[in-house]
């Protein structure tokens, strides 16, 4: 049994965000393929409080640096693998005891410290690079958006770009989430790149949960909802604001747009600051915040919804929400951008694309009253390509070939 160590800068116990879910699916796949697979996270407990004993929580000065610069926490955690005595000791113990033949790097950052550590230990495993985004570009955009110090941005982006280039060139297999990212990774010098788009697990609906939502909305005299699921990641709100806007007057009184996930709180905080904006003060007349939900509760809400909304206009990689929307079997109103990495799926029935605000709003209104179209055999098969078991096939074929 080949031994594989997967390293990330966040834990995957009880995965919440897209990155965690992707890594969790990969680890499970390794195990199901017969690998002796272990996972370790090097992370800060400022952001995560649910993790395994084997995960490494950064402490001391590393933690303090992350507190003062939370948006470069991933870089600090990666650096800590070599520069932080405690983390280095823990990682060294793991590497020397487990002796992984394959090390998979999730999202570049662990390689900042792992590369020099492997050199020091003279350990030469096969490297697999699992890319979720073009990280140096994402970080540059984020830090420029936060108006960080220019020299800080330059230094940080350089470190990430250099690491991303190194891991891309060192890796025997590079997995990318979209065709666009494949091109970028080839430019960075990748020997072999394979498409492994984001996917999801099969969604199971609990009838009781669905009935709960039916009753709750019934009490509000709401018959139909359009659901937007998202985290408190600013681009999620920017996309909605751009494609739908704050003015929800086109939604009838017996319908709502419902927000599930931490985006609910994000929107409330944002709109609270806009007390003289008619759109902001009337927003909740036609919208609801369902808040953060357990997976079962969320699945029930998805099943109750008439439409799933994907007003995505930016962000690297591809979006797990797109995969969830397709596999849900619900009507979907989305931008073209939302289907990056899932281009084939746009032709499925029940998928409605709109790329400007007026069309997007009109589509929501129109699609609310359209009946759901049942998928034929081939269409159903195409929809299932979003399941993790299908999304990771090519990646694992390549890994098996080099392992």
């Amino acid at each position: 049994m080949k031994r594989v160590l997967i390293v990330a800068t966040y834990p995957i116990k009880n995965p919440q965000h897209g990155g965690q879910k992707r890594v969790d699916a990969i680890v499970r796949r390794y195990k199901s393929e017969g690998f002796d697979a272990r996972f370790v996270a090097v992370f800060s407990d400022l952001f995560y409080d649910d993790y395994s004993k084997s995960d490494i929580v950064v402490k001391g000065l590393t933690r303090e640096r992350i507190m003062s610069s939370p948006f470069t926490g991933d870089v600090e955690c990666g650096r800590a693998i070599f520069k932080d005595a405690y983390v280095k000791r823990r990682m060294t113990e793991l590497l020397t005891s487990f002796k992984p033949e394959i090390i998979q790097i999730e999202q570049v950052f662990p390689y900042i410290g792992l590369k020099p550590l492997l050199n020091e230990l003279q350990h030469k495993p096969t490297i697999i690079s699992s890319s979720h985004n073009i990280e140096y570009k994402m970080k540059q955009e984020m830090l420029e958006g936060l108006e960080a110090d220019e020299s800080f941005i330059d230094n940080t982006v350089k470190v990430i770009r250099d690491t991303e280039t190194q891991v891309t060139q060192d890796a025997k297999v590079v997995a990318a989430v979209s065709q666009t990212d494949i091109k970028e990774l080839i430019d960075l010098g990748a020997e072999s790149v394979v498409l492994a788009p984001n996917g999801i697990d099969e969604i199971k609906f609990d009838k009781e949960e669905v009935d709960l939502w039916r009753k709750k909305f019934g009490q509000m005299d709401v018959d139909k909802i359009a659901l937007f699921v998202g985290s408190a990641h600013p681009p999620n709100w920017f996309g909605f604001e751009q494609m739908v806007g704050k003015g929800l007057g086109f939604i009838p009184r017996n319908e709502r747009i419902v927000f599930a996930g931490s985006i609910s709180e994000y929107i409330k905080n944002e709109l609270d600051k806009q007390k003289l904006d008619p759109g902001a003060v009337t927003f909740w007349q036609r919208a609801c915040a369902a808040g953060r939900l357990s997976q079962d509760r969320l699945s029930g809400l998805i099943n109750f919804a008439d439409i799933l909304l994907l007003p995505i206009t930016e962000g690297g990689g591809s979006n797990l929400k797109t995969a969830e929307a397709v596999i849900s079997g619900k009507k979907v109103v989305a931008t073209e951008y939302a289907f990056r990495g899932f281009e084939e799926l746009k032709k499925l029935p029940n998928i409605y694309i709109a790329n400007d605000p007026e069309s997007f709003r009109e589509k929501i209104s129109e699609v609310m009253s359209i009946n759901l179209i049942a998928l034929k055999g081939e269409e159903s098969g195409l929809a299932k390509t979003v399941l993790w078991q299908n999304c990771l096939n090519k990646m694992f074929q390549r890994i098996m070939a080099v392992a």
């Binding site: 007057g249 086109f250 009184r253 007390k275 003289l276």
Partner: protein
Amino acid sequence: MAKLLEQNVPKNNGGCMRRKSPTTWIDMTDLSIWRGHFTGIQRVVYSLAVRFSENSSVSYFMYDQKHQKFYGFDFDNFRTMVESQAHLEADVSASSRAKLIAQELIRRLPSHVRSRITPEVRNRLRGSYLRARAVYVKSRQLIASGRMPPRNEVIFNTEDTVLILGNSWERPKIIDSLWQAKIKSNFKLFQLVYDLIPIYQPQAFNLELFERYCKHIFEVASISDGLMAISESSKRDMQRLCDELHIKNPPIHVIRLGDDIPSTVHVERPVAVRANDRYVLCVGTIEARKNHSLLYYVWKEAHRQGLEMPKLIIVGRVGWYTGDVVHFIQLDPAVRDNIHILENINDRQLAWLYQNCLFTVYPSYYEGWGLPIAESLAFGKLCIASNTSSMPEIAGDLIEYFSPYDSSECLKQVVSFLNSDRLLKKEKEIARSYNPTSWDDTYKQMKKIIG
């Protein structure tokens, strides 16, 4: 006399009112708290209700916010009471203090109690303070004990038309109730929109009103089959809000409100004004938006330049965000003897003031309509007014304009019309060209819109 109420109380509960379709229903809730004098909006509702009653198949209702139901409103009784009041006020010499108190007590009765008192009885009650007091006390007891039966609930039918002409934002639950009723009957709903000033001039009010008003107008636009704005300016604002909030516009029509001209049959000089005073008149509530501070600066600057100015008489109750300007007017030695604020002026006194002023001035920086401008012209008096929002729509070139943000421009206009030849020429033009709008005209416009 107090037994009259109990004798006339039916034993059974009030039923539902349904009329033969199609019926036009008019919301009279604003008039259920009538205190003997109409506010501006109450006057609009009443004036149109009278025309509808004389010309159409119409019924009247009021909204009970506590129980979220619609109940019938006896308009005939109410109208009789209003007209009796007018006669009483006209016959000033006959009013004794006791009669006025009796009258006040009758007014304070809830409308569904007043509706049980016939006009004949009401007249008798007015003549006796003791009888009026007894009726008032008894009615309160009956209501408190629950023995006063409920009113007739109103159910709208499919072909009916419902008109909301008043202050519906003060009873926001009416929207929910109308919506629920519309789901069942799908009647046609029209609402009158006065202005969106709390939304687009929020500095004139407080933040709480901005939010409440936005939400209310949002819902009004969402459920109405048609809206009627009182000016093109209000229509533009409504359109702007619908565009901003992506509300699929109900059609927005414009109607012109009737010019409410105080009767000149009996006029009365206010005590504070001398018969030979030369003055410019400004009518309207003293609130920040009405911009009386501009007039303060105009008269102050005139004083500084040594210009001889007529008095400025400001008629209106003191409202909100005006503490500073009233303080300045009342204390500044440069203007305090030349600017007078008169509150509690009745219609007879107002008519006298219009008749005897040089001209009027209206410096408001934003209006839904601007009734005092129309009033001024109806009295044949020039109005010098702001050139913003709805004001230029009232009488076009018959009015002289200035920017409400430019006191020197206003001063220039005021001074130019102290020239009697110029003023006379303008007054002749007004007399020749201005046609007041009657409430009959307003009714006809509205009838055409609602079909």
